[in-house]
Subunit: 592 residues, 2 copies
């Protein structure tokens, strides 16, 4: 079998999101989260923990004296911010914002070393130690995020300064690390560089980036274990030596193709798997794709919460083992659900199978946006399914679980990650492949693209997820295949034009309409949204006797503020019927 | 109200335990656990972690060179052993065992300093530091256990060498610590000395011991907090500074009379409460007794498992908060249930109320003997209600939970604690008060005592807990009140003599028979033992939809070895009837 990956996102500049539900979030990202994060990166927020991020860059650039501060991965906060800025600029040009970004990029350029090296931790702290702790010091992780920002910024602005900075840093990485003799036989302790290198290839078409990504993936977990050697050679501390996961915390205990279950730090894991899928597609590597499929199945069938949350334990922010899904000591980091979405997108693009997108939708509506308050000011890093406020305070095992969203952290991974995902949500909603347009997520908007040279221009209107009707109107006559995802929760739907059933075929979870669409023609997908009760696999100890309530893609949450105390003593009559009512002023939400 | 404590145990030498269920355990303690522990204290067990206990004493005595090894409380292991030995000798004189014990006591005497000080940690490590870390270094804890051993050994053998060693050490403590000016205003970080001092008073009638115990209790938690001062003065590390419990880990955050809920390290807590009850009784301190009652109620109504286990979390081996009783991350240390039994015994002795003994019985049959295998070689320190073997290995929050009993630890608190409790079980089964004899636990045996000068001699025969019949035969004619506890689980019972109902009055949970008993007369208590389903208070989140199965005092455990995997998917039909069958070869147990 030849792995074919012809599916691709539509450029963000060709998509105008016009959606009540998502529009709010995107406005929030643009008007609040991105500016707020800039203030945070510059330590200008009263009462918030300091980031030190821009200060480190100034110090690395020699503009001021002083030591490095913050987390070892602090640089990546700027990169995630720049990536979110890029997506935002692509859809909403904003001269002032672009100027801020350009200034930051200039500062990066000043900090970059002659050999291309650019990590403020070591530039400030001592370059002699660079690349000596790939396991824990996140240089290659920062490199990955730098690339993602650079590619996005280049796509948005056509400016290549950041891209060139990133290319030089990657070159420096490739000069020092790789399969060739004399080079460090390492790979990142925190993955993301793998998928980033594929993005870099996509804009540069420089095959060395694919080679390097392939090396990083193949080398990972090979005997002798690089991290073990690094520990020995440099006397690095090995935090996980008493943990059963050992080097699988980093997904680096055995070769990736032999990894049958998702293990270790959840964000790292899904970032790796996404990169593996990317590399498999580029190199036509079937064993690597098979590994991705096996890991995917393991996650979604045995290690994922009903919310699309992953990572069952705070210890290592990690996967634990099959069917271990405690609701109260859960981790389910917002970033991990975002990473799962990255993985899902790539698996869909390779397989054109909606089952990956079903999970993407579940994670997006439940495991990701749960992470941010509706005013964009407070965040859940951990997204629990059961919270007892008293336990959060008094039970050491639950101290990571917060009953209310928190303010921005000093080293806050999740908010910028939410920002970059939501500002590029159009890339997840719509994709194209030859003569086919995929509608993966039901998000209102205006999409213009070309399919095999012919223009397609359509408008999507919907009040999803509260209402199951999606209206797709063509502004131009065009002949192509429209593939509309039918969600896995949907048992009852119709597809009509002008009230009449339209002909379609079901393919891998999509209703595919092959037709000459005429200008003005409106296709109406009407999904009924019954309230459903979902039970976990009985192997999940913690869910015996419990059910989740889901309507459309949304899993509902029962809160004490609405229902009084002792939530655990409430029970649902299995014969009871749900009543749905719309509360205009209550988060614009539908309550039952 | 005057607190009257006239109830007292019957001397062990006057009790012969002759009971199928408990006899086995006691034989095990005598023939296996006590000799095994002696080997352990002497580091003569292959493959076991070293204790270093006797080595430390030899080094402290100047018989060999070298540093202190083991836990800071290692001395107490010898004392617990000596206490168990004493109880054993009292019932079963054994010249060889007594010789071993005498040798150890001689060694202690050699190690004791001219001022009476005797803690090997500081004798070896530097006496200039003695009494500078009362918070964590367990000197006063060791002193407490030394006293308990000394009193038991004196009672058993009438030899006073150990008692004198203990008195000298206490004198040294009182010379250095106390309310008088110039003395250290401290108290033990790990309680037990309080109740031990009352035992010391009971054999010496020296009121200064009660004064000292009273001081320790009154001073505890007073502002300025002694432990805070100690940290400041000596630069001691404060492990719990990030915990919400803070100094309440030691029950020392506020004065004991203001403590409304059991908090902190569970063993320390119940040892303290037992000591508080003792001091309240001796000093007629009603506010202190009221505090004990409030703490007792808090524990048994809100913080105790159905097994009599206490301590909901491994973090600090501690109580957490009301109704927080997770089954799988539980701690429920064997020692904590033993401590609860100590507390219960004292509260019964003061109040003569069976409700304390009901809890004692629950803890004894379920939270204590669960801690030791039937061959006495393996131990549970943690007694969980739900165990998933895979989780014990892979879930950091459950790594303290063991699916099978473990071998002896290097610093093993629980096994010697089980040994000293079970070797003195007669003291818990039978108590007396003026003209009344209490039968608190149904344990077969032969009891001889005097009530107000008149001899009482009776034999108890029973197959409890498997059978609900208890036969009490008088060997002598005697006129007294026989108070037989009617367990809280028992709804249906009869009390007969020669098949005829006997007249009794119910008083505080006891059937009290006031009668001239004639020699040969046999009173038969017949309790029906239905299998009962017990549900937790619905405030206990983790027990929603779950029930416990109890028959008599025994809470049953469902195991994978008998029932196959996926225990969580089994359910009980609420209308189903239980069938009880006796499996002779299976632990001598009754199965349903």
């Amino acid at each position: 079998m030849m792995i074919e990956k012809s599916v691709s996102s539509i450029e963000l500049s060709s998509i105008v999101i016009d959606d009540k539900f998502w529009g709010n979030y995107m406005e929030l990202i643009r008007n609040h989260v991105i500016p707020y994060q800039w203030e945070a990166l510059n330590d200008r927020i009263d009462g918030a923990e300091k980031s030190y991020c821009m200060q480190n860059f100034r110090r690395a650039a020699g503009l001021e004296e002083g030591k490095f501060n913050g987390c070892v991965f602090q640089d990546s906060d700027l990169y995630k911010w720049l990536e979110a800025v890029a997506y935002s600029l692509e859809m909403h040009p904003d001269g002032k914002l672009e100027e801020l970004a350009d200034g930051a990029i200039d500062l990066m350029e000043k900090a970059q070393q002659p050999d291309g090296y650019l990590d403020t931790l070591y530039i400030i702290g001592g370059l002699d130690k660079k690349f000596t702790n790939l396991m824990d010091n996140h240089e290659l992780y920062c490199m990955g995020h730098m690339i993602e920002a650079a590619v996005a910024y280049y796509n948005a602005t056509e400016k290549d300064k950041l891209l060139n900075i990133a290319k030089r840093f990657v070159q420096c990485g490739m000069d020092n690390i790789g399969r060739e003799e004399g080079k460090i036989k390492g790979y990142p302790g925190h993955e993301v560089l793998e998928l980033a290198l594929v993005k870099l290839y996509d804009v540069t078409k420089d095959g060395r980036y694919i080679d390097f990504a392939e090396y990083l993936i193949d080398q990972r977990g090979k005997t002798p274990l690089y991290f073990k050697e690094e520990i020995k050679k440099n006397g690095n501390n090995f935090v996980w030596k008493d943990s059963y996961t050992q080097f699988q915390y980093y997904q680096a205990g055995i070769p990736v193709r032999e990894q049958k279950a998702a293990e270790g730090h959840a964000v790292r894991a899904v970032y790796l798997y996404a990169g593996m899928a990317d590399v498999a597609a580029k190199t036509n590597d079937e064993t690597l794709l098979a590994a991705c499929e096996e890991l995917w199945e393991n996650i979604v069938k045995k290690q994922m919460y009903v919310t699309g949350g992953i990572g069952s334990t705070e210890y290592g922010e990690a996967f634990t083992f099959d069917y271990d899904l405690p609701n109260d000591t859960i981790y389910a980091e917002t970033c991990a659900s975002i990473g799962l979405i990255f993985f899902a997108k790539r698996m869909f693009e390779i397989t054109k199978d909606a089952r990956y997108v079903h999970v993407m939708e579940r994670a997006l509506y439940n495991g990701v946006i749960s992470g941010m308050s509706l005013d964009g000011k407070r965040f859940f890093y951990v997204n629990p399914l059961e919270v007892d406020p008293e336990a959060c305070e008094k039970d050491h095992n639950k101290k990571h679980v917060k009953p209310e969203r928190q303010k921005w952290f000093g080293c806050a991974c999740c908010p910028p990650n939410v920002a970059r995902l939501l500002s590029s949500i159009g890339n997840y909603a719509y994709e194209q492949d030859c003569n086919r347009l995929y509608i993966n997520l039901f998000i209102g908007g205006h999409i213009k693209t070309e399919l095999e040279g012919s223009p397609v221009d359509l408008k999507v209107k919907t009040e999803y997820p509260w209402n199951g009707q999606v209206r797709i109107t063509h502004n131009l006559s065009s002949s192509y295949e429209l593939a509309i995802r039918i969600p896995d929760w949907c048992d009852d739907y119709s597809l009509t034009i002008g009230g009449k059933d339209v002909k379609y075929e079901l393919e891998k979870g999509y209703a595919v309409i092959r037709k000459d669409f005429s200008a003005g023609e409106c296709i109406v997908l009407d999904m009924s949204l019954p309230t459903k009760l979902i039970a976990a696999n009985p192997r999940v100890r913690e869910d015996i006797g419990k059910i989740a309530v889901q309507r459309g893609p949304v899993v509902y949450c029962l809160e004490q503020v609405d229902n009084g105390p002792l939530l655990q003593s409430l029970y649902l009559d299995s014969k009871a019927e749900f009543e749905v009512k719309f509360e205009k002023d209550l988060l614009g939400g539908l309550m039952f």
